[in-house]
Symmetry: C2
Subunit: 404 residues, 2 copies
């Protein structure tokens, strides 16, 4: 029996960026308080959270203080240190969700892919590489281009380098600078993602979103995705399989490739049924936390990924995930050449657009391509995702951080 008091249960969150901020926004109506730990004084989550502990993400003393103030610990960045989290949790008796072991699995993309492959999750062909010879061998086996990935530390496309030919192998390895892996380049129809939730004895998933990346940074998410029903079903099955591999409760952002029709047609000739035919979707990346491609859920679904994350880590029942209306979200990235104080101009265009919802992350400095906010447009009667996308793109182009 869940009983709610004031002050309500407290989530201790490692990281106080936009994800921590939106988590605090979603937790408040539930009576759930949020304390964040972040090294940046007055981080994005600070104004809406109960409190901020200013400390590095792996600062053990800081995390001990966080654990002492919280009923459950969670994290909103992969930079959280699994060893420190695990140790503090054991000593303090404050649980951490997801489990630090999951962070460990996910931190190393090679370990992650192996664990998922072992669990029957469809992944593109991949292998670990030690040197340029290994990269060239992978090109022989998979065909060029291949994707060289740093095994640890990369996000928003950082640490991912396409290798067009064997001659580029040395340079690519150098730019990755560390343990690396190679993946076959996927000929995809579209990129999709599933925001899935592992609760206490139950799971849930939101409808799949279609993602548009540019320079490997997410720009737009469109829901419903353009995929057909069979692909959506398959993506949700894969998400279920992924959740089985992951330890501990919480939201997982699961990025998938929907493979191209040509690829699927050739696989159809194998005579395997769609269920057996893994090729429809292939796993790309997993984030053990709410994900940029799930921000649309705040307005577009019956519950948001942030509310679900709070419910899941607390062990509370999960909420409904139905789509409420066609929805599009578009990131507001730093359109500047150099870091400067953040001032978003022409905001009226966003505010005047019916059903456009602004989300400002409260960052003081804008940097090139930095995620500063997003806009979600929840469709009204008769509006299609094409209409919404057109409007969203106009708004994204209209607002600017430059002074001209």
């Amino acid at each position: 029996m869940t009983t709610l008091r004031t002050p309500g249960p407290t989530l201790g969150v490692v990281g106080g960026g936009q994800l921590g901020r939106m988590l605090a926004e979603a937790a408040a109506p539930l009576g759930v308080e949020v304390v964040v730990l972040d090294p940046t004084p007055d981080c994005p989550a600070a104004p809406v959270a109960r409190d901020q502990i200013v400390a590095e993400f792996d600062d053990e003393a800081g995390i001990r203080e966080l654990a002492a103030r919280a009923d459950v610990l969670t994290f909103e960045i992969e930079l959280a240190d699994q060893d420190v989290l695990g140790r503090v949790s054991e000593d303090s008796g404050t649980p951490v969700h997801p489990d630090p072991a999951t962070l460990e699995t996910i931190h190393d993309k090679l370990v992650q892919k192996r664990a998922l492959e072992d669990a029957g999750v469809p992944v593109p062909p991949f292998r670990g590489v030690e040197d340029a010879d290994d990269v060239r061998e992978a090109i022989d086996d998979y065909g060029a281009p291949v994707m060289l990935k740093a095994r640890t530390g990369g996000y928003d496309g950082r640490g991912n380098v396409p290798v067009e030919s064997k001659a580029d192998a040395e340079d690519a390895l150098e730019s990755v600078a560390g343990p690396a892996m190679v993946e076959s380049f996927v000929d995809f129809e579209r990129e999709i993602s599933v925001i899935a939730v592992k609760g206490d004895g139950e799971t849930a998933a939101f409808p799949i979103g279609e993602n548009v990346h540019e320079d490997e940074i997410l720009r737009e998410t469109i829901v419903p995705a353009g995929s057909d029903e069979a692909v959506e079903e398959r993506a949700l099955e894969v998400a279920e399989d992924v959740l089985e591999v992951m330890d501990g409760r919480g939201v997982y952002g699961i990025e998938l490739f929907e493979t191209s029709e040509a690829l699927r047609a050739s696989e159809d000739s194998s005579g395997r049924s769609p269920r057996e035919r893994d090729g429809d979707v292939l796993l790309n990346e997993i984030a053990p936390r709410p994900h940029n491609s799930g921000h649309w859920t705040i307005e577009g679904a019956q519950s948001s990924q942030f509310e679900q994350h709070a419910r899941a880590v607390l062990g509370w029942p999960l909420a409904a995930t139905d789509l409420r209306s066609p929805t599009v979200s578009v990131n507001l990235l730093g359109d500047v050449d150099e870091p400067r104080d953040a001032e978003l101009r022409n905001l009226d265009r966003v505010l005047e657009t019916p059903a456009a919802n602004l989300h400002w992350y409260g960052k003081r400095q804008v940097r090139p391509l930095r995620k500063m906010g997003h806009v979600t447009i929840a469709g009204r009667e008769g509006e299609t995702t094409d209409d919404l996308l057109e409007t969203a793109r106009e708004l994204e182009r209209a607002v600017t951080f430059t002074s001209e």
Copy 2:
């Protein structure tokens, strides 16, 4: 041209109860920060606001501090002192919305009704009363029963006393204890309300809600209301007229009676057209702030009354007000006989119900019939307001603050 920086504009809010809390929740995604002034340390809004100034609602030094920290002042309680607010605003140059003059008009229900009647807003017959003779005379003129109302200080039905017969006039006046007025008792079909917004050169209104009161305290709001289209149109016209009377930007909660069919039929015989026939709706009360009967907008409309209030007082463009789906909200009131520490039990029933949204106000103490939170159910495909209301009532009955 609106430009958004970090930290964003700051709203200084007199009052930090649940309305201030939900205002802060809605302001955060817009990059708008909230500082509240409230005498209760760690008031409901405190955990989600940037800061709280602990001071009485009419404490001039406190309000000066609030004005110094804010770009715009507003209030979430009628107990705000219009004189202090007006003086501080003038001295500090920080605008107040709505205008303190509006508070003054609304504070005194007799002054309020006169101003509205003068502006052509349909109101039930009313008059000021000085003594029991005046009350008895009103009963002669309007017929029994009549409603005796304290001119100032009443809310949630406090200060409203039905007078069944002339013999009760003395006792009723004594219980009101102060300047009073009498209103004809309205034979209403249903109680409805319009949440209307006065922006910078524009206005907006949400679809009307149907309100169910018990012991003069709001229990449920149902949208769409059961009223027919003509009544909804008339209610929205009346709301426009009310906004004309009110000075200053912000959200207004406008409570109306939809008069009974019998009453309307008798008035129809006057030969007046529906537009001229004021009797379809009659004004009951106005609140110059977000209103309990508009909480449904958080999930049920394209924007919430709290977001609209923030936009309006800042002079930003207003947002869309369309209904997203049939929606019902139900208050969670203190079901206790004596004040005690607030612990809401059986919360699982709410959390397990698809599309039920919990809003906990963060009050530490529960008191008989105190507003502790609310639950909104936003309809999913195929659900009607009858379905939603049935579920909402089950949830309201299931949760409890008692320990049995």
